[in-house]
Symmetry: C2
Subunit: 231 residues, 2 copies
């Protein structure tokens, strides 16, 4: 039986762009389950599974509802210990918490500042209104102001990703010879602009781009098959 994944969508429901939903999607695929992805606009999250959560991802698995990407990964690991591990044991799980913190603090904000207006633009009208109001209140600037001059800021993202460029000299994935949940955390952060923006963040042939493409190809190309905005 597939696991149901409620995930953010754009006005075009094929646009599934949420970085946190990508973490959950890849984690489910890693565990070998089929995914039933349910398109969920921002303004309808509270209608999901009885309104359990203000955010997606939310999953339903055999009647069990779990929200929050980290809790979903833990749930999958604990419920399906005989399937491929997402963490490789307690030490791997602890170190993955560090990777999550690194992505959240050092990577995600820099990507957001490059594509936040593009994300807005792919949303349905009601979601656009919610997104603009909530993000602008938090940031204190308009989405247009935040994104402006992004060509000059892309180097800051590449600087933030320099650790990955170095790491792939030693091993193809954060997980080593094969990917782990830590890879999916970063992959989700990069899949977010990849789906929602025509602005290219990674340079073709760059080691980070190569890592991204390796992740795209996983699980029958679940990443490759995602619909992205046209350039």
């Amino acid at each position: 039986m597939p696991i149901t994944l409620y995930e953010l969508c754009g006005a075009n429901q094929a646009h599934r762009f949420s970085p946190y939903c990508w973490r959950a999607k890849m984690a489910i695929a890693h565990k070998g389950f089929e995914i039933e992805g349910i398109a969920t606009p921002f303004t309808q999250i509270r209608e999901v599974a009885g309104g359990v959560s203000a955010t997606v991802p939310v999953i339903e698995d055999n009647g069990k509802v779990v929200s929050d990407s980290w809790d979903i990964a833990l749930y999958l690991e604990e419920t399906y210990p005989d399937r491929p591990s997402l963490f490789g044991g307690p030490s791997g799980m602890a170190l993955t918490r560090f990777v999550e913190s690194w992505v959240d603090m050092s990577v995600t904000p820099r990507i957001g500042s490059l594509v936040i207006k593009d994300i807005h633009d792919i949303l349905a009208p009601a979601d656009q209104e919610y997104f603009r109001k909530s993000r602008e209140a938090k940031i204190g600037r308009t989405l247009e102001e935040v994104q402006m001059g992004r060509e000059d800021r892309i180097d800051l993202l590449h600087q933030a990703l320099a650790p990955l460029s170095k790491m792939v000299k030693f091993q193809p994935y954060l997980g080593g010879t094969a990917p782990l949940y830590a890879d999916y955390i970063l992959f989700g952060a990069l899949k977010w602009p990849h789906v929602s923006s025509a602005f290219e963040l990674l340079k073709e042939g760059d080691p980070i781009h190569q890592w991204f493409e390796r992740c795209q190809a996983l699980y029958d190309g679940i990443g490759h098959s995602a619909v992205k905005v046209s350039g």
Copy 2:
């Protein structure tokens, strides 16, 4: 029998400041061995153990000589598998490679730019000459120019360390409830200026400072007992 650790020293041989030597020192202590630390000036590294390495740390353990901090950690893990693990398994080891890359690319250069002249100043005259020549050739600026205006750049270091600030909300160490080699990699990077400079990089009471103090207290306070320059 203790493990011999050749480690960098200043003009005052009690100043053991090398970030890479601190990685090895903490790894040896983690495995429960006594350490015989041999003070080694930059310009005498080639006299260590028959000139096997251009850099320290170098260790000697039962006649076996190993150089390079990562290789030393691997050696200890493989040679003493029944003692406390430095990585917590293959996945932990792979994720530790990522942490190492993060420290090397995102943390170490920022610390270096804050204290490089101070490091120079604690060295013996012959080492000062070597250090200035080699570093200035690499950087293309004088040590004084690099360090100048550091008060305005310390925020860049705190930004780089933001992932740790977030992580410690979930767990006290990168290794989880107890430290692993990943902690020692970052600890070494911060012990480097702590020993060699009176410039304070961490704010008292800050979560990163608290983590640093936890690491200082490990193994009978091996970190605390290190001699640092007077302010």
